[in-house]
């Protein structure tokens, strides 16, 4: 089996997912037994005109990025959206409920038109076809390795479609609602091993919605636990603005 060539690219993002991959250290070396990394701006200066798998971090938020995304799509056999920004729009899409003018004036009050930007920050699937994704902010690197391994083996990516509650219960956590906190665990895709709720936090939805979430019931529950509708929507929109919009249609 010849090793597939893998290239990493970044768009509107903090580049934290790529950093997380570099942090793999030992496993990264093992990963190099099954793939060749031919382009990775954060780690090496070489670039490559050809690659089999493109791993893309960041959301699509500038029209001028469209051509670059299309070029990647034309070159790669498989495109993986890595991390919340590329997968669902992520934190960047928080601004999608405001107008472009408002957003530009808030961010750059002295020179609002300094940078070109689209009206919305969108997942990269808004510009090109995506074959697989690795959710999370940042990605769970174990899951990243698993997706790459499965693709190399010719398997489906194998991500769970069930919610965080499953993993949280397997970890035998007391439900954070019992402590009076609210949590998006029941509607958000597992695969993170419930890392936030197992370490004193709550799920804030960075991995995106499960395929068929019961949003009405989730809102009713958050309301019962004391949040008003604005707070509920703020919480649900932190990472999932675009996914929630898609559900409204």
């Amino acid at each position: 089996m010849s090793k597939p060539k893998v290239a990493f690219f970044d768009f509107t993002s903090c580049e934290g997912c790529q950093l997380a991959i570099l942090n793999l250290e030992v496993e990264l070396l093992e990963l190099l037994d099954i793939i060749d990394i031919v382009e990775f701006r954060e780690a090496m200066s070489e670039k490559s005109e050809t690659y089999d798998i493109a791993v893309i971090e960041g959301s699509f938020s500038r029209e001028k990025d469209r051509r670059r995304l299309e070029k990647i799509r034309e070159t790669a056999g498989v495109v993986i959206a890595m991390g919340a920004c590329a997968h669902i729009g992520g934190i960047n899409s928080l601004r999608n409920n405001q107008t472009r003018d408002e957003v530009q004036r808030i961010v750059y009050p002295d020179n609002p038109t300094l940078y070109e930007t689209n009206k919305k920050a969108l997942p990269i699937s808004a510009a090109i076809k995506v074959d697989a994704f690795v959710p999370g902010c940042p990605v769970n690197v174990g899951e990243f390795v698993k997706v790459v391994k499965n693709l190399v083996l010719g398997k489906a990516p194998g991500l769970p479609t069930y919610p965080v509650c499953v993993e949280c219960k397997m970890n035998e956590n007391t439900c954070v609602y019992e402590y009076g906190k609210t949590c998006l665990g029941p509607i958000v895709r597992a695969g993170c091993n419930a890392v936030c709720t197992s370490n004193g936090g709550v799920c804030i939805g960075c991995r995106g919605l499960i395929p068929n979430p019961n949003l009405n019931s989730q809102k009713d529950i958050m309301e019962k636990y004391g949040l008003n509708m604005n707070l509920i929507m703020d919480s649900m929109n932190l990472f999932m603005t675009e996914e929630n919009k898609a559900k409204e249609v």
């Binding site: 391994k149 398997k155 479609t161 509650c165 499953v166 219960k169 397997m170 019961n214 019931s217």
Partner: protein, 626 residues
């Protein structure tokens, strides 16, 4: 269990005994970890919590862990079954959870005993602590009578003040008590007093549901009750209720290959029928897509389907799912809304090889269509499969996974057997690239096929084989068997429908059958004709009226894609064929093949055990069948 005796010891005697036992056993008990109360291994008996607080998970996790390796393999084909039993003492289990363990003992012992569960149980000693009241307002053990378990433990301790009375029901319990607890004669008066007080306390709460024994019938009658819809509206399908349940035992099986790609594990993990993907087959059909059906299934398993099997409520009323549900869905509400309108088991690991696959070599490969490929294989050990037509095997590729695949060759085919595989999932996609000489792994045969009794029934009858698309593949085993001796039947009519002529399976054999004379006939149809197609075009039901048959002496045998059955059966009924004279072969997702993992369940039956071949009259009233 041969023993039933009562002894007594001091409370200090029990804890001193446990302290000494720590050298010989691992002890799991109620303890505190990072602020939470749970059952976990303790290093010091001082860490054992004496006051009971309900835990998130039940102690079933010690015998059926969240995730465990059932098979280890190397990529060059060395396979080793794993069971990992350890000598443990499980201390301080409450009656509800003991009742839960009793149910799991029965479920995992039944038919093919599950070696992974049973070997852990065999090596454990369970010491219960009896309850004299409910632990909190969510618990409802007394409504389902689970507070009086008769088995599922070795020693039960009853708190009579400074001492514990002990009820010992097993030899290993007796030996352990003798060695570690320094037992004395029991004070029967004190034990009787405890039992009376316990009974009075639970009776005061209202006692068991009046209709407890009739719940299966009541659930049967209420499949369309409005409560299913109202509960489903709030249900998040988050799976929490299942994760925390002491009697849920469904699981998933996945292959995980190390990054080296040279060695790997086959793991089983808790799975949950409340999750949307649970009943989804590789082709994408989902047999329990609606939340309402999943809620109904989960609750029916407790009070109907499995209750009939275990002769007791399979919900033990521990209250964990009630505590875990953010949407306030409770079995109590459902049962009470619907009702408006113990035997000991010997735990014994019978076979260690249930999950151990055997190596086969591919002896012949033929590409049928773009997605479908024919394989002939033989066991490296030389054994023959020994199957009935309609049975299936669990076929696996190490590192990729396992899939249930129908056997396509007739039984008397020598030591080889044949399959046709459509590339729809991980395993079947990988199979596409395999060639003659490559190796695969097989478990089975499994399921109930066209056994000797059905084959006998077919004799002298007019047999209508009705196959749609890849449904011809499992039927071929029976078709080819009957074609060897057509004179045994009044007539053999084969009806076969495909999307296009090029999607037809076994084209040469179809040709051969069409040239057979006398009482064998074949009619084919396609949805979309291509060049040179001279036969019928249209759906398969259009072929049925073309056959001249006497409904009193005819058996129809049907296999095809899920959507086909309803229409074919409807047409046959119009032709006056009784559903007693129809057999169907159904497809479901299957992970174990032996009625444990839960994926293939239709209402109260497991397709992998009772099916995949069914007489249609046996399942026509099952809502989930078609």
């Amino acid at each position: 269990m041969t023993t039933l005796l009562n002894k007594q010891t001091t409370k200090d005697g029990v804890f001193d005994g446990l302290e000494r036992a720590l050298g010989d056993y691992k002890i799991a008990a109620l303890t505190k970890r990072e602020g939470k109360i749970l059952f976990d291994y303790v290093k010091d008996v001082k860490d054992i919590e004496q006051e009971y607080t309900p835990t998130v998970l039940s102690p079933k996790k010690f015998f059926f862990p969240q995730e465990e390796v059932i098979l280890e393999y190397t990529f060059d084909g060395k396979v080793t079954a794993k069971t990992n039993p350890e000598k443990i003492i499980l201390f301080g289990v409450r009656p509800c959870d003991i009742s839960g363990i009793k149910i799991l003992d029965e479920a995992f012992s039944e038919s093919h005993g599950d070696p992974n569960y049973l070997s852990k149980r065999e090596n454990s000693i369970i010491i219960g602590i009896d309850c004299k009241s409910i632990c909190d307002e969510d618990a409802f053990c007394y409504k389902v009578n689970s507070q009086y378990p008769e088995s599922g433990f070795d020693i039960m301790l009853h708190d009579i003040g400074n001492d514990y009375s002990m009820t010992i029901i097993s030899d290993k319990g007796e030996i352990f008590a003798e060695n570690y607890f320094n037992p004395d004669m029991v004070n029967y008066t004190a034990l009787a007093k405890f039992n009376i007080e316990k009974k009075e306390a639970f009776d005061k709460l209202g006692g068991p549901w009046e209709d407890l024994d009739n719940l299966p019938e009541i659930f049967e009658e209420n499949t369309n009750h409005k409560i299913w819809e109202t509960e489903a509206e709030r249900c998040l399908s988050c799976g929490s209720c299942i994760m925390v349940c002491p009697t849920c035992y469904c699981f998933d099986v996945v292959d995980e290959l190390a990054l080296s790609m040279k060695v790997g594990d086959r793991l089983r993990r808790w799975d949950a029928c409340m999750l949307r993907s649970f009943a989804e087959v590789a082709g994408g059909e989902n047999f329990r897509e609606e939340v309402e059906n999943r809620v109904k299934h989960r609750i029916n398993r407790k009070f109907n389907y499995l209750m009939k099997k275990h002769n007791q409520s399979v919900c033990v009323g521990c209250g964990r799912c009630v505590r875990a549900c953010l949407a306030d869905i409770s079995p109590v509400t459902i049962v009470e809304e619907l009702t408006k309108t113990s035997r000991a088991l010997k735990i014994e690991t019978k076979n260690n090889d249930l999950y151990l696959p055997e190596k086969v070599t591919i002896t012949k490969v033929e590409k049928f269509t773009e997605d479908e490929k024919f394989f002939e294989v033989e066991f490296d050990s030389g054994r023959s499969l020994g199957h009935d037509p309609g049975q299936f095997v669990q076929l696996s590729i190490l590192g990729i996974g396992e899939a249930a695949i129908s056997i396509s060759s007739p039984p008397s085919f020598g030591d080889r057997f044949e399959m046709v595989v459509r590339a729809v999932g991980d395993v079947t996609n990988k199979l596409k690239s395999l060639e003659e000489g490559d190796h695969l792994f097989v478990r089975g045969p499994f399921g109930h096929g066209f056994d000797a009794k059905i084959q006998k029934e077919m004799e002298g009858k007019h047999i209508l084989y009705i196959a749609g698309g890849i449904g011809y593949v499992p039927l071929r085993s029976l078709i080819n068997l009957s074609l060897k001796h057509p004179e045994k039947y009044e007539k053999l009519s084969i009806l076969y429908g495909c999307k296009t002529p090029s999607a037809r399976m076994f084209k040469n054999e179809l040709e051969y059958i069409s040239e057979m004379k006398n009482n064998v006939e074949i009619f084919e149809t396609v949805d979309r004709p291509e060049d040179k197609w001279l036969q019928h075009c249209g759906v398969i039901t259009e072929l049925i009226p073309m056959i001249d048959f006497n409904p009193d002496n005819t058996l129809a045998i049907i296999c095809g894609p899920p959507v086909m059955y309803k229409y074919v059966i409807q047409t046959l009924k119009e032709q006056k064929l009784s559903t007693k004279n129809m057999f169907v072969s159904l497809e479901r997702r299957m992970k174990c093949g032996v009625g444990k993992c839960g994926h293939c369940q239709i209402d109260d039956i497991y397709v992998c055990q009772t099916g995949p071949v069914f007489r249609f009259s046996d399942i026509e009233d099952k809502e989930e069948a078609l």
